[in-house]
C-alpha cells in the first residue's frame, strides 16, 4: 500500500491493546497469589490456564538485581548452550545478551526445558514477567520461536518495566523475521527507571526490539522503531531524572486505569497549534504528549527541546517506514523474470536451429567479441536474472530456518530451471571474457557463485523430501536443459587437460594427473548420458564437447576401449539412438 500521507498509528495501537483488557488479565496473573509457584535458582515461575479462553499464561519472577554487563553468544556456544543459536546467521554470527538475565535462564535450564516441553502451538500462550522477570520471559520466548513457524497461535511475550536485554546484533537478528519481532510487547511507564537503565552514553551497546507500549498516568502510545524507542527512553530519562520511588506494582494500577480510560475523551495536545503539520508530525506530537512530553514543557525548567525531538522521530519513522515498504519481495518481479527466461529459451532454440548449442553461441560471441543487438539482449537477460536470483537466495538465507525451508520449496522449480539455463552462460563468461580465467587461470569451480551452490542445495533437499521425482526413464533430450548446470565447466576443464597431455613442455607427473582427470570426465559424461540427463545439443557438430572429443580421440590409445568411446564411435548412437532412447548403455 502506498500512502500519500504517512501516519504513525502508535496511539491507535496502544488504544487497541489497552482497551482489549489483555494487559489487565496478564497483570492479574502476575500479582495473583493463588497460583502455585515453582521455585528454581533465584527464579520462580507459575503457570495459569484459562480453560474457557484456551489460554496459558506463564509468569517469571525474580528478586535478583541486574547490571550492565553483556555476554556474547559465542560464549554460550562454547558452553554447548544452543537455545539461541538459530538466531545467528553467517552474515550476523554473533550477538550479546545481558549477563544477569542469561545467568538466571542458564541456571534453571533443566526446569525451563521441562516447562518448554509442555508448550504446544495448539494453545494460545502469553509469557510475562516484571522487571528482570520480564527479561527471563523474553529469553524463554526466544527459545520458543523456532517451534512456532506458522502465524497461528504464536506466543506473545509481555514485559512490564523490563531493562533492555541485548545488543544491536540481537535486534538485527530479530528483525529478520517480522513474525519473531511481533511476539514482543514491552510495557514501560514513563516513571519507571529500570527500562532506561541501559540507555545513554554509559550503555551504547544496548538496542531494543519488539513493540514498546509507553504509558503515562493519562495515556499511552506504541513505538516499534528501535531507534525511536531509544529516543523516547532518553527523553523520559531527561525529564524524570533518577529513581523517584517508582514501585513496580504500580503497573497494575496503570493498566487498570488505561483500561478504564479507553472510553474517555482524550485531552491530549489540547491547545497545541497543529496548523501546517503533516499527518505524520501531528501523530508524533500526539504520541509524545501522551507521555507528558508537550511543547509547553520548554517554558518550564526541563532541559529538553520537544520540537527537536518531534523532528528527530519524524525522520527516524520515515526512514523506518521506507525500509519496511521496500523489503525485497521476489513475487513482485516474478513475471518479469519469467519473460527473461522465455527469451533465453528462445535463444537456445534459435541457436539449435542454426545448428549450434546456445552455450557455444554465447562463448563464440564472447571470444570473438562480436555482439549483435540480439546478443547484447542476451547479455542483459543473463545479468538481470543473475541479479534477481542472487538477491532471492540471499533473502531465503536470511529467513528463519523453517520459514526459509518452506520458501525454498516454493521456489525450487523456478530456481532449478534458472540454474540450468543460465549457469552455462556464466561458465562461458568465465572462460572467455577478459575477467576470469584469462586473468587467473583457476578452474570455474573455485570461483563458482554462492547462489548457484545454494540453489543446487535446495534441489537436493527438495528431492530428498519428495523422492518420487521422475529421475528414471527416457525423456525428450532434445528439449531438456542439461541437469548438471556445471556440465560445460567440466568440458572446459577436460579441454584444458587435453592440452596439458599434448604439451611437450609439461612434465610427466602433470600429464598423468591430466590423463586421470580425463578418464574421470569420461565416466562423468557416460553417467549423465545413461540417465538421459544431457541435452542432445552437445552433439551438434562444432560444439565444445565435440571439439574436445576430437582432440581427445587424437591422444593415442585413449578411447578405443572405453564405454564412451564405443558410444561416440558411431554418429548414429548419439544423433539417433540417444534421442530415441534406444541405445543400450549397459
Amino acid at each position: 500500500m502506498i500512502q500519500f500521507n504517512e501516519f504513525s498509528s502508535g496511539i491507535e495501537l496502544a488504544s487497541y491493546v489497552t482497551s482489549s483488557g489483555l494487559l489487565c488479565r496478564t497483570w492479574n496473573t502476575i500479582s495473583s497469589s493463588s497460583i502455585a509457584s515453582n521455585k528454581g535458582e533465584r527464579l520462580s515461575w507459575k503457570v495459569h490456564k484459562e480453560e474457557d479462553a484456551d489460554l496459558k499464561i506463564i509468569v517469571f519472577e525474580t528478586t535478583s538485581q541486574v547490571k550492565l554487563a553483556l555476554v556474547s553468544s559465542l560464549e554460550l556456544k562454547n558452553k554447548n548452550f544452543l537455545h539461541f543459536e538459530f538466531l545467528c546467521t553467517r552474515k550476523n554470527p554473533e550477538f550479546q545478551l545481558n549477563k544477569d538475565a542469561y545467568h538466571l535462564f542458564y541456571e534453571n535450564l533443566q526446569s525451563l526445558d521441562e516447562l518448554k516441553s509442555h508448550v504446544t502451538s495448539s494453545t494460545r500462550l502469553i509469557v510475562t514477567g516484571q522487571g528482570l522477570g520480564g527479561s527471563v520471559a523474553i529469553l524463554f520466548t526466544l527459545s520458543l520461536l523456532d517451534i512456532f513457524t506458522t502465524g497461528k497461535n504464536r506466543p506473545l511475550c509481555i514485559t512490564f518495566g523490563s531493562p533492555l536485554i541485548g545488543d544491536m546484533n540481537l535486534q538485527k537478528a530479530m528483525s529478520r523475521s517480522t513474525t519473531w519481532n511481533s511476539c514482543f510487547l514491552q510495557v514501560v511507564s514513563h516513571k519507571d527507571p529500570l527500562p532506561r537503565l541501559f540507555v545513554g552514553p554509559h550503555a551504547t551497546q544496548y538496542m531494543p526490539f519488539g513493540t514498546f507500549l509507553f504509558c503515562s498516568d493519562e495515556s499511552s502510545t506504541c513505538f516499534e522503531n528501535p531507534e525511536s524507542i531509544l529516543e523516547v527512553l532518553k527523553a523520559m530519562a531527561s525529564i524524570q531524572g533518577e529513581n523517584q520511588g517508582f514501585q513496580s506494582s504500580e503497573y497494575g494500577n496503570i493498566v487498570e486505569k488505561l483500561y478504564q480510560k479507553s472510553i474517555y475523551k482524550d485531552l491530549l495536545a489540547r491547545g497545541v497549534d497543529m496548523t501546517g503539520c503533516s499527518t505524520l508530525q501531528a501523530s508524533i506530537i500526539l504520541q509524545l504528549s501522551a507521555l507528558g512530553l508537550t511543547p509547553q514543557m520548554q517554558q518550564k525548567q526541563y532541559n529538553i527541546d520537544i520540537n527537536n525531538l518531534v523532528r528527530t522521530i519524524e525522520i527516524l519513522e520515515k526512514k523506518y517506514n521506507h525500509q519496511k515498504r521496500t523489503i525485497f519481495d521476489p513475487t513482485k518481479k516474478l513475471n518479469v523474470m519469467k519473460v527473461d527466461m522465455v527469451q533465453l529459451e528462445w535463444y537456445k532454440k534459435d541457436s539449435r536451429n542454426q545448428n549450434i548449442g546456445y552455450y557455444d553461441r554465447y562463448k563464440n560471441m564472447l571470444s570473438t567479441n562480436k555482439f549483435s543487438t540480439s546478443d547484447q539482449d542476451v547479455v542483459n537477460f543473463h545479468k538481470n536474472l543473475t541479479n534477481y536470483w542472487e538477491k532471492m537466495v540471499e533473502t531465503a538465507e536470511l529467513k528463519p530456518q523453517k520459514e526459509g525451508a518452506a520458501f525454498r520449496t516454493r521456489w525450487l522449480f523456478a530456481g532449478t530451471n534458472y540454474r540450468r539455463m543460465v549457469e552455462p552462460l556464466e561458465i562461458a563468461n568465465y572462460y572467455y571474457s577478459n575477467e576470469g580465467y584469462k586473468k587467473f587461470p583457476k578452474s570455474y569451480f573455485e570461483t563458482r557463485s554462492k547462489h548457484y551452490k545454494q540453489l543446487e542445495e535446495w534441489l537436493k533437499e527438495g528431492t530428498a523430501a519428495a523422492s518420487n521425482s521422475n529421475s528414471t526413464g527416457t525423456r525428450n533430450v532434445e528439449s531438456i536443459l542439461t541437469f548438471d548446470s556445471c556440465f560445460w565447466a567440466h568440458v572446459e576443464e577436460a579441454f584444458i587437460s587435453c592440452k596439458v597431455v599434448k604439451d611437450v613442455k609439461v612434465d610427466v607427473q602433470l600429464k598423468e594427473k591430466a590423463k586421470k582427470k580425463l578418464l574421470e570426465f569420461e565416466d562423468y559424461v557416460y553417467g549423465l548420458l545413461k540417465n538421459y540427463e544431457v541435452s542432445s545439443d552437445i552433439f551438434l557438430r562444432d560444439s565444445s564437447y565435440m571439439t574436445w572429443w576430437n582432440e581427445y580421440e587424437k591422444i593415442d590409445g585413449a578411447v578405443s576401449h572405453s564405454k564412451l568411446g564405443r558410444f561416440m564411435s558411431n554418429a548414429n548412437n548419439y544423433n539417433v539412438k540417444y534421442v530415441k532412447g534406444t541405445y543400450n548403455f549397459n
Binding site: 479507553s262 497543529m274 499527518t279
Partner: protein, 644 residues
C-alpha cells in the same frame, strides 16, 4: 411517479430518481433523497410494529393523503428475547445463506459474507411462514415502490428483507424495467454483517438503498462489538428495558449499575475494534497487528449503507463512508470521566427508544451536514475547511486524534480510487496492445491456436509466450490488490473490467494450459485444474463473469481451460492403460459442453482444425462412441471444410 428524489445521492440510479416536478426541492423537506415526512412516517410505523409482536410485519398500502398510491411500507417489530440476538457463539455469526443472498460475498476471493445467525434465522422463518413473499411479488409485478422499515432488531429484518428483494428481483436474470428499487430505512439498527457484507453491498451499488438513522448515544448499533459472553449475564435485563410491554421501570440502583456496566463493556469493545481497524488503515505493517488478533477475539461486525447521526440539539449528519461510520460509533459516545458514566449510559439506553422525538427535533434544524472528503479535514479542532462539518465534528467532541482517524479513513477510500486509476493506466498503456498482439497471433496460426503454442516451434510462438507473461504480470498485480481490498469495492462488478477479464481469460488461458503440459508440469504438479496449479487470475476472472451473469459456477473447467481436461483424459487412456469405460462419463460431459460452447460462440473453429489435439483426441475414441458423440457432426463438418 417515483417518490424518491435522489438528487443528493452520489450514486447513479438515474432511472429511479427521474425528473419530478412535484417533489419538494428544498433540503428541509428531504434528506439523502428521502422525503422527511416519509421518514417520520416510517419511524412511526417501525415503532407501531412493536405493538403487534404476533404479526410477522405490518403493511401499509392504503391510499392516504400522505401516501402516494404506489408506495407500500412494510415494517418489522423487534424482539426482546436474547436468543433472537445471539446464538451461543462468541459473536454469533455464521456464513450468510447463499441461496437467499448469492451476491453477499467477495467474488474473486470466493468468501461468503458473515451475518448474525439469530437475525438470519428469524428472517428465514418470516420468509417461509408469512405471506411476505407473496406480498412482495404482487407489489413488484405491479411496479409498486416497496419501503422496508424497522427499529432495533426489527431493523435487521428490514435490512435482510430489502437485500432479499434486491437479490430476487433486481439482479440480471430477472431484471424488469417495471420493477422499482426497494428502500430500507432503519432506526437504531444493530450491525448485522461483517466487512464482506459491507463490501458486497457497496459493490452491488446497493448502499444507497439503506438509510440508517441512529441517535448519537444509542447503544444499539454498538452492542455487537462486545463478545456475547462479556454481556450475557445482563443482556436479558437490558433487553427488557427496551421492551414496551415490560414492567420494569428501570430506576433502582441495581438497574443503574447494570446499565453502567453494559455501557462500559460495549464501549470498551467498540474502542478495541475501532482502534484495530484504523491501525490497519494507517499502517498495515505494524508488528502487533500480526500477533494480537490471535489473543484478542475481535468482533467481525462492520457498518454498511448510509448513516445519519441524529440528536435533538443538532442537525442531522450524513456519513457514507463505512470506515468513518465505524470511528464515529466510538467517538460520538465517549464520556469525559467516571462521573458521567451513570448519566450517559442511561441516555444510551433511553435514546434507543426516542427516535420519533429526536428525529423530529433534529429535522427542525435546517441544515444537513455531509461528512465527505475527509482526507482534507483540518486537524485542529477549530479548523475551517467547511464550517458546518467543523461545527458538527466539534459538537461530537472530536479531538485531534479522532480527526486524524477520519482523515486516514478518508484517504484510504481515496487511495483505492487512485489505485484503480493506476491499474487502468497500466492496462491501457501495456495490456491493450499486448492483447492485440496475441489476437493477431491466434488469427494467423495455421494449426489450432492451442497446438501451435504447445508445439512452440517458431519465433512467433516465443513472442506469444513473452506476451502471455507480460499480461500475467498486469493481472497478477490486480489480483494481489483485490485480495487485500485495495481497489474500490465495485471493481469486480464493473462491466468494463469483466469484459477485459473475460477477453483476457478466453484468449490467454489456453496458452497457459498449453505451457503447463508442454513443460510436463503435470508430472509434479498434478492436473492443471487442481487447486494450486490453475493461476489465481483465471479463477478470479471466471468468477467475475459467473457472478455478473448470476450463472452456475463451472468449478471443474470452463471454455478457457477445457484443454486441460482433454489432456488429462488423454493421459488416462494412453499412459495409464485405462479403458474407455473408466473415462466415458468425463468424455461425454466434455463433449456436451464443447457442443454447448460452440453453439454459444464461446469457442472458435480453430480448435477443430485438422491435427488439433481435440480432433486427434476425438478420432482416437472408440468407434461406437463416436457414432453417438454430441460433437460428431461438428468434427466432421469442420474436417469437410478443411479438406476443400
Amino acid at each position: 411517479m417515483s417518490l424518491f428524489n435522489f438528487r443528493n445521492c452520489c450514486y447513479g440510479d438515474s432511472k429511479a430518481s427521474g425528473v419530478d416536478k412535484d417533489l419538494p426541492q428544498s433540503h428541509e423537506d428531504s434528506l439523502l433523497g428521502l422525503r422527511v415526512d416519509l421518514i417520520k412516517k416510517a419511524c412511526a410505523l417501525a415503532f407501531k410494529a412493536h405493538k403487534s409482536p404476533k404479526k410477522y410485519y405490518l403493511l401499509e398500502k392504503k391510499n392516504r393523503s400522505w401516501l402516494e398510491a404506489d408506495l407500500i411500507i412494510i415494517s418489522f417489530h423487534g424482539s426482546w428475547a436474547s436468543s433472537d440476538w445471539f446464538v451461543d457463539k462468541s459473536y454469533g455469526v455464521t456464513k450468510i445463506n447463499q441461496q437467499l443472498f448469492p451476491s453477499l460475498k467477495s467474488i474473486g476471493n470466493d468468501e461468503a459474507a458473515l451475518v448474525n445467525e439469530a437475525f438470519q434465522l428469524r428472517f428465514e422463518s418470516i420468509l417461509s411462514n408469512s405471506s411476505l413473499k407473496h406480498e412482495v411479488k404482487e407489489a413488484m409485478t405491479k411496479g409498486k415502490q416497496l419501503m422496508f422499515t424497522g427499529h432495533s432488531s426489527g431493523a435487521a429484518m428490514a435490512i435482510l428483507a430489502t437485500l432479499w428483494v434486491l437479490e430476487e428481483y433486481l439482479t440480471n436474470n430477472n431484471k424488469n424495467k417495471n420493477h422499482k428499487l426497494p428502500q430500507c430505512i432503519t432506526f437504531g439498527s444493530p450491525l448485522i454483517g461483517n466487512h464482506i457484507f459491507s463490501h458486497a453491498t457497496r459493490r452491488e451499488n446497493w448502499s444507497h438503498h439503506f438509510t440508517h438513522f441512529i441517535t448519537t448515544l444509542d447503544i444499539m448499533p454498538r452492542i455487537l462489538f462486545a463478545p456475547f459472553h462479556s454481556i450475557q449475564p445482563i443482556f436479558s435485563s437490558i433487553l427488557q428495558l427496551f421492551n414496551p410491554k415490560s414492567k420494569s421501570s428501570g430506576t433502582d440502583s441495581e438497574t443503574d449499575r447494570v446499565i453502567s456496566e453494559f455501557y462500559s463493556t460495549v464501549m470498551r469493545n467498540t474502542a478495541t475494534v475501532t482502534s484495530y481497524v484504523i491501525s490497519n488503515l494507517m499502517d498495515d505493517t505494524n508488528l502487533l497487528l500480526e500477533t494480537l488478533p490471535n489473543l484478542v477475539d475481535l468482533s467481525p461486525y462492520r457498518p454498511f449503507g448510509n448513516f445519519i447521526f441524529c440528536a435533538a440539539d443538532r442537525p442531522p449528519v450524513v456519513v457514507r463512508n463505512s470506515d468513518v461510520v465505524l470511528q464515529l460509533l466510538f467517538y460520538t459516545a465517549r464520556i469525559n470521566d467516571m462521573s458521567e458514566v451513570s448519566d450517559v449510559s442511561k441516555k444510551s439506553i433511553m435514546q434507543h427508544l426516542r427516535y420519533e422525538v429526536e428525529l423530529q427535533q433534529s429535522f427542525e434544524i435546517s441544515n444537513v451536514v455531509y461528512l465527505d472528503q475527509l482526507e482534507e479535514l483540518s486537524l485542529a479542532a477549530d479548523g475551517s475547511n467547511r464550517l458546518t462539518v467543523s461545527t458538527a465534528l466539534d459538537s461530537f467532541g472530536l479531538d485531534t486524534i479522532a480527526r486524524l482517524r477520519l482523515r486516514a479513513a478518508g484517504e484510504w477510500q481515496k487511495q483505492k480510487y487512485k489505485n484503480e486509476e493506476k491499474v487502468n493506466r497500466e492496462f491501457n498503456e501495456k495490456a491493450a496492445a499486448t492483447m492485440k498482439h496475441l489476437k493477431d497471433y491466434k488469427e494467423t496460426c495455421e494449426i489450432s491456436y492451442y497446438d501451435a503454442f504447445k508445439v512452440h516451434k517458431d519465433e512467433r510462438d516465443f513472442k506469444a509466450n513473452v506476451k502471455r507473461l507480460e499480461l500475467a504480470g498486469v493481472w497478477d498485480h490486480i489480483m494481489e490488490m483485490l485480495k487485500k481490498y485495495e481497489l474500490p469495492d465495485e471493481f469486480e462488478s464493473k462491466a468494463e473490467w469483466i469484459e477485459r477479464g473475460t477477453m483476457y481469460r478466453t484468449l490467454v488461458e489456453p496458452l497457459d494450459v498449453a505451457n503447463y503440459y508442454r513443460h510436463f508440469k503435470d508430472k509434479d504438479g498434478g492436473p492443471y485444474m487442481d487447486k494450486g496449479s490453475r493461476p489465481k487470475r483465471y479463477r478470479y476472472l471466471q468468477r467475475w463473469l459467473e457472478h455478473a451473469g448470476r450463472m452456475k459456477s463451472e468449478d471443474d473447467y470452463s471454455e478457457s481451460c477445457f484443454w486441460a481436461e482433454l489432456e488429462e483424459i488423454w493421459k488416462e487412456i494412453n499412459d495409464n492403460n485405462g479403458s474407455f469405460e473408466d473415462v466415458k462419463e468425463r468424455v461425454l460431459k466434455l463433449e456436451t459442453r464443447i457442443k454447448e460452447w460452440f453453439e454459444k460462440g464461446k469457442l472458435d473453429k480453430d480448435v477443430l482444425f485438422e491435427g488439433s489435439t481435440l480432433v486427434n483426441w476425438w478420432k482416437a475414441l472408440p468407434p461406437n462412441h463416436k457414432k453417438e458423440s454430441p460433437i460428431r457432426s461438428l468434427v466432421e463438418m469442420s474436417q469437410g471444410i478443411n479438406m476443400q
